[in-house]
Point group: D2
Chain length 466, copies 4
């Protein structure tokens, strides 16, 4: 089946350009100057709309096990919510825990996603125990499984933590097999001291989750990861959920040297703060407990992160979607912030929240598309199949209405959460139509997709290296 | 007339993608997944070739008057040579001298180009005398004449030199009318002291042209221009012909702050050196006398410039094509390097010389296209008409043969110069076919174009600002 | 005549140490562990006092001609006021104006000081016109006249301004003859544009003196001077009256590279601000019109300058004492801030104002002495004759009472000014006794000195270079 | 007993000054202008000599247990050798091992030193196991034992290693009790990976000790220590044996911010290199196995370290004296560099080796004295008792002969080592006479001291903080 998306303005990384887009089956097959395409064909009217590549969220945690509970979105509910928000591909994290076989972890995640996803998906692999076996597994996943990125943690001693020797070994192996090392960059051993001291002082509310994770300990870990990557012959390094000015400085300094060091930030760090959200009265702040934490509004974090997005010191924006309900889940931490499950849900809102940046003059249209779609595809080995409106690419397409408005709240969102981190926010722009591999799954805001439509996307090596 | 460029690999800024390109008249009208385009149509076979946007050289000086002589390429010979090298648009410099009316200078350059150019062209305007009248003229040129960039000189006191007060005023005006300030950043008054002292010491050979223009005086002027632009409320600033590591540091520092500061470098700075070329025996070095000068091979300039191209601290590459023959022209400076006309011809070789960087692993394919075509178009207000293979864009297209080789020399080049700055260099890649606004002007290396085909391109404001 | 200063605590640059000081004639002849000195001798009781080297103010302008008027303190009134404040040596500026003979300027200043000074004095030479003649004069002054520092101006075009070529030539000469180049680092040509524009907009009050001299134009000039000094083979460079954070950054960066770049700041920049003083209602702000100007309290200038004093990025503190009365003098600029004579009087208060920094925990005792006495002596070639309590040194000694308090105001100060820039300030510490070359000139706050006691101090080369 | 050191030039941190020094008993009691002191008194002729404060070596390891052996100098042989070299005080390291009681470690070291030392000595305390008990012990040692500096290790996992949580806790405690944290800054876990890999590849010779400890892992650890100290409310931090350019950059950056971050380097890093010494043929390189290791001569380490000494980014020079003989000791590592005891002996040569820097124009005389004597005293709470020639100070004095020469070698040195790390070096300057608390222990190069003369010096808090 063929159809023509007509009358819209295609936005690429270098800017907007009016063009009609011909879809045939699952792929884009042609782009036409307006009105020059085939006449006798079904059309989708894109007049007044931006036609952008389906957005890619490269950092989600659907139904992730965490401290006796599990992230509240399944791959079913989570990918459906993502689709509503204009995201047509996610990359989730399969997990190897210490002592487990890497391939078993991957198999478990394949089992969870089989038949449940509404949109396409790939996996990064979390390595919870770097040793000879897991290093061999890295090679195999890169060669055979389409897994080309591996996440390590400098925090959470006893859970996912790798020491610097393990990190160095994994980086050396990545250097050899071409994979990307993703890093949760916070100094866990030092944070744990601060957390223990705070709790001993009776500082138990959610706000202290933030103050016990000072930006210096994110900056330090970011810096350390960069040093270790240089010792590993400049292994490519990707810092996840960068939240703080001083951490950004470390990344920017490495990039000035031409290093293959990249970072993402998340919408929550661009908008929300330690004081206004995490410091909300009572236990309310638990809604925004995530790590890295929200930062102080009295410092320049948010302005610096927006600037970093403009300068490409921050390559892209992911959500780190990891939702937990207040009831029964976040509530586990009443009286002890360290027991609050860490995570914010937002997979549905990234495209809109970043478009607000366009409206506010903080990003160009081209940079919007780049940070939510094109760079994620290039960074993680899915380009040009994903991330671009081009002949031959998957027909993952969003029609975005710049004249629309989006109001966010628990009553209207589609994520499986009993609150919204953005309750009451009304912002410019609206996702109008979402196409996944040629199939319209959202039309005029109404859902037409289905669980099982989404397919696994084996990924190649990053082609984003400098 | 229509035809299909078939079988090639279209390269955009984000990377290569196989696609067929449909040209109708002067424009690109469609891109197709390979083999999906119209069947009954004339075709150009691009099998094995890169299909890239026609390159844009944003810094040339055809038949520029200089010290009693004139650059040896006319707009006719120079644009024909450019076409041979895959360049389909140049931006040359119209000149206002001190005491002249700006619009008269522009008219003079329009007169020179009328009917003589083989490819499209635009103009920057050199302001040789900033005062109330010329500031008013800036506004008029931006509004009515398609001139949106204005060059000032911190060197050449008594010729083009503007003092810091004049620079500040021009920057303030540019801030208001949206234009870009281009800067020749060398500290002229200090250089003139060093030149005079060298000549007094009997140091008269071409090599001393280089040592009397130390990189510190380029870095200083670059830094000063950046400070002045910040006082002018962050007026957009573009540093021309950046040659030196320390100057690059200034640009990089400003860009880290998110400033609208940009820079170009030129092929000569990426490959040639103070010692090997400018320091050639006898008067030979005169061939490479240009300002800013070639830099020492014992410092890290070339590696730093290549890195700057990768990190986008250098946005693009121009040639600063300003050819003079050895005979009668360069020879004016025998016995006094300060009398050697400043300039190197290279408009024909930029695309090839930068492709060599791709082969050497210094640039990605996408970045090659970006630095020679897409960014110049965006930087100087010609995008998406120029600089991109997209439906609706001018059909300025180059078929580039990665399997070919190019040998450079005076016997084979098409520039009106009696020597080549790159004599004997043989490099990878070859321009196969060049299309200008739909017309094939070079086919399989043979020329089919004509003087007068080229048209003036009025330009809009830069859409490259961060 | 001999006497013993007994019971006090001698403060050197490395800290306090109890010791008794024996003075014989004009010199210090011995230091003793407490109580171990000669018994049968006149004593001055220093119990509870700090015994510090007489302070040196290396930047004053007594009776300096300026725009038809003259700084209101003569060498008589000004050096007497200095003595009251614990300063026993000044270095004033002799002036060569454009077109004048350097030696004539020096002779004029020797004439003014002959028989009039209460304390010892030296001269820096202002070069208002760098040319072959004045460069030769530099050599002669260094060799024969004890003048080893030469001040140039990057501001005041048409008055003292040197262009970058002149600056470079003077720096080269200084490099050869060993002298120090002192620099008034503000970009005058750019400032003059801003001043003209402000006046045209009717912004005529003193506050606009400040905003038309933005810190960027001080930082730029500071940076440029540092670049030029590097071209002059690392000629020693001393930035006068540094006032702004961004200028300090330039100095700090050069010093990190081990460059011989130094800077002073002044008490007014450590305490007073654009808003609170220069922005006082009506014409009141004229009291604080000086260049460089007071900086905004909403930026971090004051904290940064104090930190710079601690880190030695700021080597020392001078006053730039250049007093003008409100009546008839400052009033020349009613309705046009650019006509207000530039200058603040403060020669009397530096020692106390910096001691307040000790009380506030911003400086150590040793650093206090270093910044007001020892470094000025070393920087400007008077050490160990001046600036230290050591056997053989001139007996320039201050007994400072840390338990005392000083209240500043026009009723009590001794400078010839009809207002005080520090009216009503009450600060910790008090100058108790001042000894100049063995003679007590202030005792218990009462004056015992006389005009003509002060002698010219020919200076050697700086021994402060790194 | 009294005597007068007559005719010499006293050198203080601010420069040389001729003066005579009166010693009475153990103390200096007076300084006199030349010739003005007492006449009827025993004299030591210092004509032509520099009279400097006895040098202080703040980093030695006499008879330190290490991997089944012990550093080859006892407190007896080592302090005697130190005295020959002009050092009159050492600060050695008492050791708490993991699981031991801190105070027991201190007692053990007091037992070793009782009656054995030729010169005065103090102790730092190595904390090999930070926990609640040892943190309490810190307070007690500061309050009662004159131990105010505590060393932690980021290297040597399983031996002295502290993790980042332990480091943070110790820093917090130091912040509260005023102590200085000293840091061995190398990333041990990462180094251990590199060492294991090298040995597996058969790279077993001493040279690979160096290449498995790349400067990046010193710089990283230095940076991390600085970050952790900032989290500990700017706890004072002292980096030991800094050897590398990139590590120095970290310290310099912190110091530019006004942080209380200090560093020492050692003579071996100023002169010796990875290639020329550690890379000597066969097992010869074992002589120079120490950690941090010698650095590459192809990089700028040595020049940068000398510059750091000039700029005070390196505060002082210690030896890290930790001698092992080749026979039986270094030989333990034949065939496995990781088994070579780490350490170089040099306590005897520091004063001379640094004086060579004066001769080479790399340090001023005043800075020489500052880096070997005055700053060590101030940094570690012994000033003004030690480190300065001033009335009331201990009569620890060296007469240094600038006209002498020193030839270093195993035949002439006094350390208990069967080789010299400086064999055959002949350098300018010579220690002539050494006085410890008033007693001449070296006279004209001949030894007159005795074991047991040296006394324990309880130390106060650092008074060197900025
Ligand atoms: Zn994470
Ligand atoms: Zn995550
Ligand atoms: Zn130019
Ligand atoms: Zn040019
Ligand atoms: Zn001035
Ligand atoms: Zn002044
Ligand atoms: Zn160590
Ligand atoms: Zn040690």
């Amino acid at each position: 089946m063929s159809y023509l998306i007509k009358g819209g303005t295609v936005v690429s990384t270098t800017g907007p350009n009016p063009a009609d887009v011909l879809v045939d089956g699952e792929r884009i097959v042609a782009l036409f100057a307006p009105g020059t395409g085939p006449q006798e064909i079904e059309t989708i009217d894109a007049t007044g709309k931006y036609v952008i590549p389906g957005a890619i969220d490269a950092h989600t945690h659907m139904q992730m096990p965490f401290g006796g509970t599990e992230a509240s979105d399944t791959f079913d509910t989570g990918t459906r919510a993502a689709a509503f928000g204009g995201t047509t591909t996610i990359i989730d994290f399969a997990i190897q825990r210490y002592g487990e076989v890497v391939q078993d972890g991957l198999a478990a995640w394949h089992a969870k996603t089989a038949g449940t996803c509404h949109i396409d998906y790939g996996f990064h692999m979390i390595l919870g125990g770097v040793d000879d076996e897991s290093l061999k597994a890295m090679d195999q996943l890169v060669a055979d499984e389409g897994i080309t990125s591996f996440k390590l943690f400098m925090a959470y001693p006893g859970v996912f933590y790798s020491d610097d020797g393990q990190i160095l070994r994994a980086m050396q192996r990545a250097r050899d097999n071409g994979a990307m090392i993703m890093m949760h960059a916070e100094n866990g051993p030092a944070i744990d001291v601060l957390v223990k001291q705070a709790l001993e002082r009776g500082e138990t509310d959610p706000y202290h989750h933030g103050v016990t994770r000072p930006q210096e300990l994110e900056a330090e870990a970011t810096s350390r990861a960069i040093w270790l990557a240089s010792v590993a012959a400049d292994c490519p390094l990707y810092i996840v959920h960068l939240s703080a000015s001083k951490a950004l400085e470390q990344v920017a300094a490495a990039r000035d040297l031409g290093r293959n060091v990249f970072a993402e930030t998340c919408p929550q760090y661009l908008y929300l703060t330690l004081e206004d959200q995490l410091g909300a009265p009572g236990f309310e702040g638990a809604k925004w407990v995530c790590s890295t934490p929200l930062r102080s509004k009295h410092e320049s974090h948010r302005a610096d992160l927006w600037r970093g997005l403009r300068t490409n010191d921050l390559a892209m924006v992911s959500t780190d979607h990891c939702p937990f309900c207040m009831k029964d889940q976040k509530e586990m931490g009443v009286g002890d912030f360290s027991k609050i499950p860490n995570g914010i849900g937002g997979v549905e809102h990234r495209v809109d929240l970043l478009y607000q940046g366009v409206v506010d003059g903080k990003l160009s249209l081209g940079r919007w598309v780049e940070t939510i779609a094109t760079t994620p595809a290039r960074m993680f080995g899915m380009y040009p199949r994903k991330g671009v409106i081009a002949p031959g690419s998957d027909a993952d397409i969003v029609l975005y209405d710049p004249a629309g408005r989006t109001r966010i709240g628990v009553d209207t969102h589609h994520m499986n959460m009993d609150y919204s981190a953005w309750e009451g926010w009304e912002i410019a722009g609206r996702v109008d139509t979402v196409i996944s591999r040629g199939t319209v799954i959202v039309r005029g805001g109404e859902y037409e997709g289905r669980a099982g439509h989404g397919r696994y996307v084996p990924r190649g090596l990053s082609d984003y290296l400098v």
